[in-house]
């Protein structure tokens, strides 16, 4: 296993790395610009916020629409409930993120940088604002910090723009995409903080980074964030987290908008955005969740469905009413036992909700549910009535 690239240097648990140490370790900040964009295109770096969009292509599009007044938003909202990697990076390597944001600003010709940080991520907020005081006056003038509310949809790129512009962290109708018309009408690059940290390393070395930050959560002995080589088997990341604490029923790969995988298949899965995509899976935001065999899968799914339905921003009818109906049907099956009518309704409503929101929230939830019903098909088909409530 090769050395870590983002978390190299002092132990991340020691907190925020000072700028002097950061520069001594990595050298000065190289120049951003057209050449860096083309380098990012060649390295094939993809976004680490969840959607996995090719970074170089996004920068190209924003640079083309910029007219010298673009805006860069470093997205550290980290609204995914089990994800911790963005917070770990913000609290331990703030200058790597600021370097990436500055390189982005220089490359897409931006005059403003917004650090978009979850308002409950206090340590991350302290670390990033502390690091900012160590930067040049020019940089300090460019950068401001905006606190994002702790909502699942607050990290959606159109929601980040909406909050910066209007103080409301809800998604807006696209098109226009933030890339074309974002903050104040200017072309806006919204990029996850881990992605920006990768850029800061790539700009210095000239070659692709080959690591990814993974949060291992659920039924493991030592849950946490690990930087692993791209292509590491999923089982390897679980070993780093101390191994499974009890027999595993299933693994959720990629967070709540990810896919359920049976353990037998999961352990050998390569943690590689491109390889997972080729298998119809997604690394998403890098969360690997283990559900123990002692838990009722249907009750777990119902609990997550209720959470995701409650996280709808209640703007689009099919999402607000549809997700609630889906969550209620799952909960009925969990509490009162399987009803063939509910199973049919889950299928019908899923199809009705798919693709019918301004943002991708309903699509992500439907994908999660479809995957759950495939992996836990027998559990859904023969679920007994529970008196116990799952949440």
């Amino acid at each position: 296993m090769s050395a870590p690239q983002l978390l190299a240097g002092p132990d991340p648990s020691r907190g925020s790395e000072r700028r002097a140490e950061h520069v001594a370790r990595l050298g000065p900040l190289p120049k951003g610009g057209h050449a860096l964009i083309e380098l990012l295109v060649r390295t094939g770096l993809t976004g680490r916020g969840g959607a996995g969009f090719p970074v170089g292509l996004k920068w190209r599009a924003v640079a083309a629409a910029s007219h010298g007044s673009a805006v860069v938003i470093a997205n550290g909202a980290e609204g995914e409930p089990h994800s911790r990697k963005d917070r770990l990076l913000m609290t331990s390597r703030p200058h790597l993120i600021l370097d990436g944001a500055m390189l982005a600003a220089a490359s897409v010709n931006a005059k403003q940088v917004v650090l978009y940080i979850g308002e409950e991520h206090h340590a991350a907020m302290r670390s990033m604002s502390g690091a900012l005081t160590e930067r040049t006056e020019h940089e300090r003038r460019m950068v401001r910090i905006v606190a994002a509310p702790p909502r699942y949809v607050a990290g959606d790129s159109s929601a980040t723009v909406h909050l910066v512009d209007a103080g409301i962290a809800t998604p807006t109708t696209t098109p226009p995409s933030p890339r074309d018309r974002g903050v104040g009408g200017a072309a806006t690059l919204v990029q996850n903080v881990e992605t920006l940290a990768h850029v800061a390393v790539i700009a210095r070395t000239g070659i692709a980074t080959d690591t990814v930050l993974i949060t291992v959560a659920g039924g493991v002995r030592a849950p946490g964030v690990f930087e692993v080589n791209v292509g590491t088997p999923l089982g390897g990341a679980v070993q780093l987290a101390g191994g499974a604490s009890e027999p595993v029923r299933a693994v959720l790969v990629g967070g709540y908008f990810g896919q359920w995988v049976e353990p037998a298949e999961a352990w050998s899965l390569p943690l590689d955005p491109h390889a997972l995509r080729a298998r119809g899976l997604s690394l998403g935001c890098g969360v690997i969740g283990l559900v123990p065999a002692s838990h009722c899968a249907v009750c777990e799914v119902a609990g997550i469905m209720r959470y995701l339905a409650s996280e709808s921003s209640a703007q689009c009818g099919p999402c607000f009413f549809g997700l609630r109906a889906l969550a209620d049907a799952c909960t009925r099956i969990a509490e009162r036992g399987t009803d063939p009518g509910d199973l049919q309704r889950l299928q019908r409503w899923s199809a009705e909700v798919q693709g019918r929101g301004a943002c991708k929230h309903p699509d992500g939830v439907v994908m999660f549910l479809q995957s759950a019903m495939k992996t836990f098909g027998d559990d859904f088909a023969h679920h007994p009535a529970h008196i116990r409530r799952s949440a």
Binding site: G317, W349, E352
Partner: protein, 76 residues
């Protein structure tokens, strides 16, 4: 070739009043909660009048006609 149009719904503006589905049931049906599901693709010529009425009569201005996407990719 004549211009082709398709109907698009602004999901955030849409309140599920359902007038559009009453005016143009050939292309618009309502989901389980009363929100419109629009058939994909360009509107046939003989329905353009009704499509325009569905757009004009929406009380929250949530539905619009726009040039069909296929049109963009074809050179004139």
């Amino acid at each position: 070739m004549t211009k082709q149009f398709e109907l698009v719904v602004d999901r955030i503006k849409c309140d599920g009043r359902g007038l559009c589905a009453e005016i143009l049931p050939e292309r618009i049906r309502l989901d389980s909660w009363g929100y419109p599901i629009v058939a994909p693709g360009p509107i046939p010529e003989h329905l353009m009048g009704l499509a325009a009425r569905a757009v004009d009569d929406c009380p929250v201005l949530a539905i619009a006609l726009r040039r069909a996407q296929v049109q963009k990719q074809r050179p004139k």
